[in-house]
């Protein structure tokens, strides 16, 4: 009886308290909260022009993400993010009132998914030791630069600069010889704190980077070997002094792309840093600063960072380029105009067919970058409508693409990437130094069979070190060794090449009558000097790291073995390959990849003989004086057209000489919510992620 009483007593308490709890929970839900209900506004007005601006901070050149190397190409050259001209307002626009009453805030928010959190909000650090693609996606758009790339076509165009710079002049100042150039800046471009963006801001940024010897990407932007100092002839005229004549890579595609920071905001921080003692300590002080309300001159300004969860950029209502109309013509001309403010055109006469036209935004009130720990979760969020677009430097995997196929409101796009996977040779070890041998190897590799049949189209065959997607610099006339040949023709061609070069067999390879397979494998292949070819090892990433490259490696091994070349594919870890190839140069052949920059000065880095020392970028030891001469000329070239001719020539040279057999590239596949977004264009080298999701030009429906 006592037990029953106790139970009843407790039950009463439980019921009473549960009721109380529910009431309290309701209280919590209804009141005492600070959340703002956000209603997405549906725009029903017709779109004037799909807008895309000279993208502020568009990662035109690939920046190596910490994790991306694990899934895609291997060593990644890092180049600066560029910033386009932008201007700003004095007050942040937290929301756009829609006048719907009820105190609701109606906003159009562009929701993006990213796969890793930011590591800093300090712009000096993000271009320094904290270089990640995720930092770049979020932070890359707020700073102006003198010049930038045009959308899609990558023409070199003025941004903060009013026009192209004056030609480089050699002049002597106080007994010192310099190469100088002058640049006029646009008037009226403002930081979001209301101050003008002036030549002083450029001076401050460049001199800080040089004086504090900032690391990471900074030396490739402000190269101390070339940059000496800059002067402000007046608030809107700059004069830059170079220690020696800078080529396109150091000036037009280097310093001219430098993001410019607000002097008014950063000067006290830099002054404090300069007091910190040694350079490393000075850098630490600068990088440690956590910006609060740092002025922006882009379409957005940095809003908020909730670590591990999301970052937000808010619209800058007084962005200088808002309402600018950008037009690209089939004839090559580029035009940009903001009625009553400025007009600019270049690269020929405007007129004729337009290939692209858009009006610059931003059209969204904010851009939220939500962090997802896995692509699977992000894809579900995309399907559910939690996000509109995913930023990922490697795009969507095949499995996820299939998941998204046929989903209502989603559109999938495919773009080429600016990167290649290649097979490299160690020229120090015969017969790899033999051009005919390398050409025979290239002939035997049936790239189309692998990419189309084996890999079912997830890779694209490539023949030049400049991928086709890089339209401005790609040479379409490079020799396409082996393309279109049957297996029998490939074997016959390879045998002929080797025979002509003096190679001999004990047993020559023989192809079956139907030409589909090698029925008699070649044996006893000897080099022109009569010595047998030694056992060759080809280092390649394993399938866990990159199934595409490992598949290529396995087939290359098979095809070479068929003609009697004793090659063994060693599928191993990425770091081990790097160590053996770059640090020790102890290898025969290797398969890796490069993410590339738009301006192809990397051709010099990868193939000039001076870079063949240990830890250099030419580990194969390729040494051709004729190519070296071309590469040296390219480095010093200041004229775009001449440089283009040189690059074309270098591509042809390499496609014939074959220090690398360029194998393939992978398309970037992306999916976005087309029921919410309207992009001004979707064809873009590296995909829309390479344009940071076109935040300043995307229209939110």
């Amino acid at each position: 009886m006592a037990r029953t009483t106790h139970t009843t007593h407790t039950t009463k308490w439980l019921i009473w308290l549960t009721g109380l709890g529910l009431i309290l929970a309701l209280l919590v839900q209804l009141g005492c909260t600070r959340e703002v209900e956000v209603v997405r506004e549906v725009v029903v007005t017709p779109t004037p022009q799909p807008g895309a601006a000279p993208q502020a901070g568009v990662p035109q050149a690939t920046v190596a993400p910490a994790g991306a190397g694990l899934a895609t190409a291997a060593p990644v050259p890092v180049t600066p993010a560029t910033a386009a001209p932008q201007a700003a307002a004095t007050q942040p626009p937290p929301a756009t009132g829609a006048g719907s009453g009820g105190g609701e805030i109606e906003e159009k928010v562009y929701q993006l998914g990213i796969s890793a959190d930011l590591t800093t909000t300090n712009v000096w650090a993000y271009l320094g030791p904290d270089t990640t693609i995720w930092n770049q996606y979020v932070l890359g758009g707020g700073k102006p630069a003198l010049y930038t790339y045009s959308a899609q076509r990558y023409d070199w165009i003025p941004s903060l600069a009013a026009d192209f710079p004056s030609a480089l002049l050699e002049e002597s100042v106080a007994g010192q010889t310099y190469w100088t150039t002058e640049i006029a800046l646009k008037h009226g471009v403002k930081w979001s704190d209301g101050q003008d963006v002036t030549a002083e801001d450029f001076l401050f940024t460049a001199h800080t980077a040089a004086d504090l010897e900032l690391t990471g990407n900074w030396p490739s932007i402000v190269d101390p070997e070339f940059f000496d100092h800059a002067e402000a002839l007046d608030s809107y005229t700059l004069k830059i002094y170079f220690k020696k004549k800078p080529g396109l890579a150091r000036w037009q595609f280097g310093l001219a792309f430098m993001p410019i920071f607000s002097r008014a905001y950063w000067a006290p921080v830099v002054a404090e840093a300069r007091q910190a003692g040694e350079i490393v300590e000075q850098q630490k002080v600068l990088y440690s600063h956590v910006p609060q309300d740092e002025p922006s001159a882009g379409g957005y300004r940095f809003g908020k960072w909730e670590r591990g969860a999301f970052a937000e950029n808010t619209r800058n209502p007084d962005y200088y380029f808002t309402d600018s109309v950008v037009t690209e013509y089939a004839g090559g001309a580029y035009a940009e105009a903001k009625p009553g403010v400025y007009e600019f055109s270049a690269y020929g006469e405007t007129g004729g067919d337009k290939t692209l036209e858009y009006t610059v935004g931003p059209y969204a009130d904010g851009a939220i970058y939500s962090v997802y720990g896995s692509q699977d979760a992000a894809v579900l969020a995309l399907k559910k409508g939690d996000i509109d677009f995913m930023l990922n430097p490697i795009g969507l995997s095949r499995g996820l693409q299939e998941q998204l196929q046929g989903e209502d409101g989603l559109t999938t796009i495919e773009n080429p990437s600016d990167g290649v996977r290649y097979l490299g040779f160690n020229f120090r070890r015969p017969p790899l130094d033999n051009k005919a041998f390398r050409q025979a190897v290239a002939t035997l590799i049936d790239k189309e069979f692998l990419t189309d049949t084996v890999l079912q189209g997830v890779a694209i065959p490539v023949y030049s070190m400049v991928p086709e997607g890089n339209r401005a610099w790609y040479n379409a006339d490079v020799p396409l060794i082996g393309q279109g040949m049957s297996r029998a023709e490939r074997v016959a061609q390879a045998v002929a090449l080797l025979k002509d070069a003096g190679f001999t067999w004990e047993t020559e390879p023989r192809v079956s009558e139907d030409g589909r397979f090698v029925e008699q494998q070649g044996e006893g292949l000897r080099m022109p000097n009569g010595e047998p070819i030694p056992e060759l090892t080809m280092l390649a990433p394993g399938p866990g790291y990159d199934p595409l490259r490992s598949t290529f490696a396995i087939w290359i091994e098979r095809w070479l073995n068929e003609v009697g070349i004793p090659l063994r594919a060693d599928l191993t870890g990425f770091n081990l390959i790097v160590e053996k190839v770059f640090d020790q140069q102890d290898f025969d052949l290797w398969v890796l990849g490069w993410s590339l920059t738009l301006y192809p000065d990397y051709l010099e880095a990868f193939f000039h003989s001076r870079n063949s020392e240990l830890e250099g970028f030419n580990p194969g030891g390729y040494n051709n004086p004729e190519f070296d001469r071309l590469a040296d000329e390219l480095l010093e070239e200041t004229d775009l057209e001449t440089a283009r001719r040189q690059v074309f020539q270098m591509q042809s040279f390499l496609a014939d000489d074959l220090p690398y057999v360029v194998l393939f590239t992978t398309p970037i596949v992306e999916t976005y919510r087309s029921d919410r977004l309207e992009f001004p264009y979707t064809d873009n080298l590296g995909g829309l992620q390479d344009a940071a999701g076109l935040t300043t030009t995307v229209q939110i429906k």
């Binding site: 006592a2 937290p94 928010v109 979760a377």
Partner: protein, 383 residues
């Protein structure tokens, strides 16, 4: 006991030293280093690449780097993270630990409580439908492929039914206007949990001392009232809505974690109970005519608790370790994901910091369990 604790303290320091040393050399054994990330930029001259190595202290000989890390560890300063340069490691960890702790401590408690209740029940009524159902479903969930199961949970409950969010620990649209950080709210959540635990223990202690813990005791209602005061306090804290948003995001990962791990505790409890129910004192209790529930809960289950409590304490401590899989799939950025990312990028100070942090907690957990034994089982005495 004091002598024992001193000896264990010495052992902990020695073991910690071994953990630090082993971790350092294991990470160093990987090819390449953090600076290699920058080494593959053809635009950087060789001297700049060297300067980058110097920035991270990677230009120093290995033994010097080891000594620096040793010093950093034992002075409580874990150095500066390479990947979050120049943030101190301790700051990065302090940011991640509360998030992991809130999620995994809750999940661990939920999982153990579920497992203990079920284990107790199926051991008491052997051969019944409940035993078969619980054992088969528990074992199935225990052995299920975690990533697939977690994704399935998201797909069903978040995507198809739309009951819960698809991962993450907060909704950006709710938090974009928040004036406090998520860690601030997490901190208060942990504080609330700790305060409630202390309150509950104190209540039990007071009622026990007063001899009022038996039938008709007010202990349970008092504790429940304390528990229900929590939402009231949060309602007037001004951050209640934010906490509610976090709680909403916690449901699915906690449910997943509980489902995949309760079986361990259930089977442990069951086995332990099966031994105790054969004991003479249980038979004696039955012979006295005590109700079955009382015999089960007070006489059998309490004595079967020892291995379960041991397991619980270890699990609670290792909860700060998080889980790379669960954190990754539910986009819950805690210590597990941080550690994985640090290992991938060879962020040595962060790896060391995380490992030492986890190692230290594990060592302390062992000591707590040893001490708990004395209180749970009066037969145990340390010399």
């Amino acid at each position: 006991m004091t002598g024992y604790l001193v000896r264990r303290g010495g052992q902990i320091v020695l073991t910690l030293f071994l953990i630090v040393t082993l971790t350092f050399f294991l990470v160093q054994a990987q090819p390449g280093d953090y600076a290699a990330f920058y080494a593959f930029n053809p635009d950087l001259p060789a001297e700049v690449r060297e300067q980058i190595r110097a920035t991270f202290g990677l230009d120093k000989p290995l033994w010097q780097q080891y000594l620096i890390h040793l010093k950093n560890t034992f002075t409580g300063n874990f150095g500066v993270s390479f990947g979050h340069f120049p943030r101190p490691v301790i700051e990065v960890l302090a940011e991640r630990v509360p998030r992991t702790a809130v999620l995994f401590l809750t999940a661990t408690v939920a999982s153990f409580y579920t497992g203990f209740l079920l284990g107790k029940a199926i051991a008491w009524r052997r051969g019944g439908l409940l035993e078969y159902t619980a054992t088969i479903s528990g074992a199935t969930l225990f052995t299920v492929f975690t990533p697939a199961f977690a994704l399935m949970m998201i797909w069903v409950f978040a995507f198809k039914l739309g009951w819960f969010p698809v991962g993450k620990f907060l909704d950006p649209l709710v938090w974009r206007s928040a004036e406090v950080s998520a860690n601030y709210v997490f901190g208060f959540m942990l504080l609330t949990a700790a305060a409630f635990t202390v309150f509950a223990f104190l209540a039990l202690f007071v009622f026990r001392r007063a001899g009022r813990l038996g039938k008709g005791s007010l202990a349970l209602p008092v504790i429940l009232a304390g528990g229900l005061a929590i939402p009231l306090i949060w309602a007037f804290s001004g951050i209640g809505g934010l906490a509610l948003d976090i709680l909403k995001h916690m449901v699915l990962p906690i449910a997943t974690l509980t489902l995949i791990s309760f079986a361990g505790t259930m089977l442990l409890t069951r086995n332990s109970m099966l031994e105790t129910v054969r004991e003479d004192y249980v038979m004696a209790a039955r012979a006295k005519g005590l109700p079955e529930k009382l015999v089960r809960d007070r006489h059998a289950a309490r004595n079967a608790l020892l291995p379960v409590v041991t397991s619980l304490v270890y699990s609670l401590i290792f909860a700060i370790d998080g889980s790379v899989i669960i954190e990754g799939i539910f986009s819950w950025p805690g210590t597990g994901m941080t550690l994985l990312q640090a290992v991938r990028t060879e962020d040595l100070p962060l790896v060391m910091g995380a490992m030492v942090f986890i190692g230290l907690f594990a060592l302390i957990a062992h000591m707590i369990v040893d001490v708990l034994y004395v209180y749970l089982d009066p037969r145990i005495r340390y010399q």
